[in-house]
Symmetry: C2
Subunit: 382 residues, 2 copies
DNA sequence: GGAGTTCGGGTAAACGTTTCCAGGCGCTGG
DNA sequence: CCAGCGCCTGGAAACGTTTACCCGAACTCC
């Protein structure tokens, strides 16, 4: 025991009277004679042997660790992803390394570069924004990377994205369907891909419903509860009868602002959020929200990554159901011709396997905050 | 480049025309002649060299990784801890490995055992319950461990705990102070240490305020929003005028149940929660809650652990302010004689440094859900 | 000018595994 | 009975570092 007293393969070999090669073979389940196997097993058990994962990694070149890097662990959306990723990783025998980038682009690049230090076998990255530097770093990445978010076309990196254009449209159409006509929109920063796309979805759904686009009904702000409340205050003079918020935190902030002024939800204003995080259920009244599939995206990203790592990466992802016509993809580039289905896997790829892109389909979850006007009228006077 | 094409210390040595020892020395900032230093630096830069962390760990016996294991990443309390721990770890140059035990005791023991695989340098563990097996595993742990939670006295393991007895009492006294007399209590499982202690705090504060203890006003349930709602429903027939819940999720569930029945908060019933998680601010009305210092406990735990790891573990923790008289410690054992201050550091310890125990002091955060009866009456008829 | 000192750098061992290779032994088939 | 073939097994190399040790050269001091 020259080291910290922990038994090594050598201690076992000595105790069992065999060579270290035999110990390794037995412990890894390779063939050996009956009594050899038994002696090694017993010695290992008696000494309480546990293989040194570091040495194993050095030899094998794999650490069985994955890294998940996202902007902010405080956001329930990322918590949902962490949970999903951890589930997949654990089942596959991988550990999960967590990295919070605090939404700093430089930190994201550092994570990408640090893949060279061999600490983890692969990375799931949620970038806040994609710059040229990001693309370069992604292409140069020393290990497989899966991006959660939208990538410009042609970047040879697997990705999983949400169709937030369609998601936003879903919410707006729902508000229209329950009788709202002046639908306000509290968006996050418009210079991010999601911000841009949610606005696109909002406007296209307005048009589709035959509603005019009134700039007075739109506010841009940061993400965050207080930001949502302030934005709502600013929008009130424009007399909206509904508000759609780009995420649940904004929506809760907006709700607080409304309730604080004595307004009723949904009677006076309907409120809808986005992400369908834990918060949506917990708000009062419970929030209608668009589920962009955070868990599913996390799970899918982990699966894609593991697939690359395990090498049998040939199996193409089960193609998600084709999006309904008119719902554009989340990519910044122009979608293909309307009639033609969006390509689900591009040609170029790493290690021979084509790059895969998976899109989670948005789903509307209706709760009390957008109960139909008719129904609430009835309730109110019941 | 016999490996994955990544440069090693050998590639650099060849390119710079020096030995690998010199490369290592230069790169680790040890003395070398001017031109040697320069040649090595340049070669390393040109090749884009990044040291192999695994090899380094094998040699050095340290991975610069910490593990944080908690029951459920979905709980905002643990999210707060993750964030705090990640902050401390990152600043000290450590990576964070996340492990969700799903509140399975066997999984906790597995984590403890897996410390032998040398994957991480230390562990911060939030056990759901402490069994004999836990104590054995803790004592045998191959690496330093810090427990967040209450440990029986005498276990030579650093720990950080919340004074939930005092915290619960704080909430109950507050409800009494704002004029409530029939204070219900929705507790979590009573066979956990926190459940036990919160109940103790509740009862002692009732006694202190001269209120009778009515078993009809107490419900035990699981943690979770729905559980809180159901428990509240069950308690309503006992006609409480306030309810104190053992965490914010339960409190939100209770709020939902009340609001759903058309009751007003705080006019009809005041609601108070515990943990002061994100949820408290986000509820409607915003919840009064007792901050048990989740972030602080996380931070403190990380600091204690790093202190053990970095070896200069001599510095005793700044002794927390003595708890006010009457507030018992969180340990399951009987507290010392009332007059005598609880011991803040026990004698036995690992590696010569005495075991340290740090207790976070609870803090009441008052919000609208418990506005004083008088004030709300005034408001209501204003 | 020689001995002692200092400094810099090279060689090699070590961390704990896995795995390639070759040798030994027993068995089978001719 | 011998050749040949497998199966086991042990020795040794390799993964990429850090570091103990040693050697040579330059310098200092008497």
């Amino acid at each position: 025991m020259p080291n910290g007293g922990q038994p090594t393969i050598v201690s076992i070999a000595e105790r069992a009277g065999v060579s270290i090669a035999s110990v390794s073979r037995v412990l890894n389940g390779q063939g050996a004679r009956r009594d050899t196997t038994e002696r090694v097993r017993r010695a290992a058990a008696e000494l309480g042997y546990v293989p040194n994962a570091v040495a194993r990694s050095l030899k094998g070149g794999r650490t069985r660790q994955l890294t998940f890097a996202m902007p902010d662990i405080g956001n329930p959306v990322y918590v949902a992803m962490v949970r999903a990723i951890q589930g997949v990783a654990k089942a596959a025998g991988y550990r999960l390394l967590l990295h919070s980038t605090d939404a700093v682009a430089e930190d994201e690049l550092a994570v990408l570069r640090s893949l060279r230090d061999r600490t983890s076998d692969g990375l799931i990255l949620v970038p806040i924004r994609i710059t040229e530097a990001h693309i370069d770093a992604l292409v140069e990445a020393a290990r497989p990377v899966v991006v959660i978010g939208s990538l410009p076309p042609g970047v040879p990196v697997d990705s999983v994205r949400a169709d937030s254009v369609a998601g936003a449209a879903l919410a707006v159409r729902h508000l229209h369907a329950v009788g709202r006509r002046r639908i306000a929109f509290v968006n996050g920063p418009s210079d991010t891909v999601p911000g841009h796309n949610r606005e696109r979805g909002y406007r296209s759904a307005l048009a589709e419903c035959g509603l005019p686009h009134d700039p007075e009904l739109v506010a841009h702000t940061d993400f965050g509860v207080d930001a949502g409340a302030r934005a709502m205050e600013r929008l009130l003079p424009a007399r909206p009868d509904a508000v759609f918020c780009a995420n649940d935190q904004l929506a809760l902030g907006a709700s607080h602002a409304l309730l604080g002024r004595g307004l009723r939800i949904p009677e006076d204003l309907a409120v809808a959020g986005m992400d369908d995080s834990e918060l949506a259920k917990l708000g009062w009244p419970p929030l209608t929200s668009v589920d962009l599939g955070s868990s599913e995206r996390g799970r899918r990203a982990a699966e894609l990554l593991l697939d690359r790592l395990e090498g049998h990466g040939g199996t193409p992802p089960d193609p998600p159901p084709a999006p309904e016509a008119g719902s554009a993809s989340d990519a910044p580039g122009a979608p293909g011709a309307p009639g033609e289905p969006a390509p689900r896997a591009t040609a170029s790829g790493t290690r021979g396997v084509p790059t895969r892109t998976s899109t989670a389909r948005p789903r509307l979850v209706v709760r009390a905050s957008t109960a139909p006007a008719g129904a609430t009228e009835a309730m109110r006077f019941a």
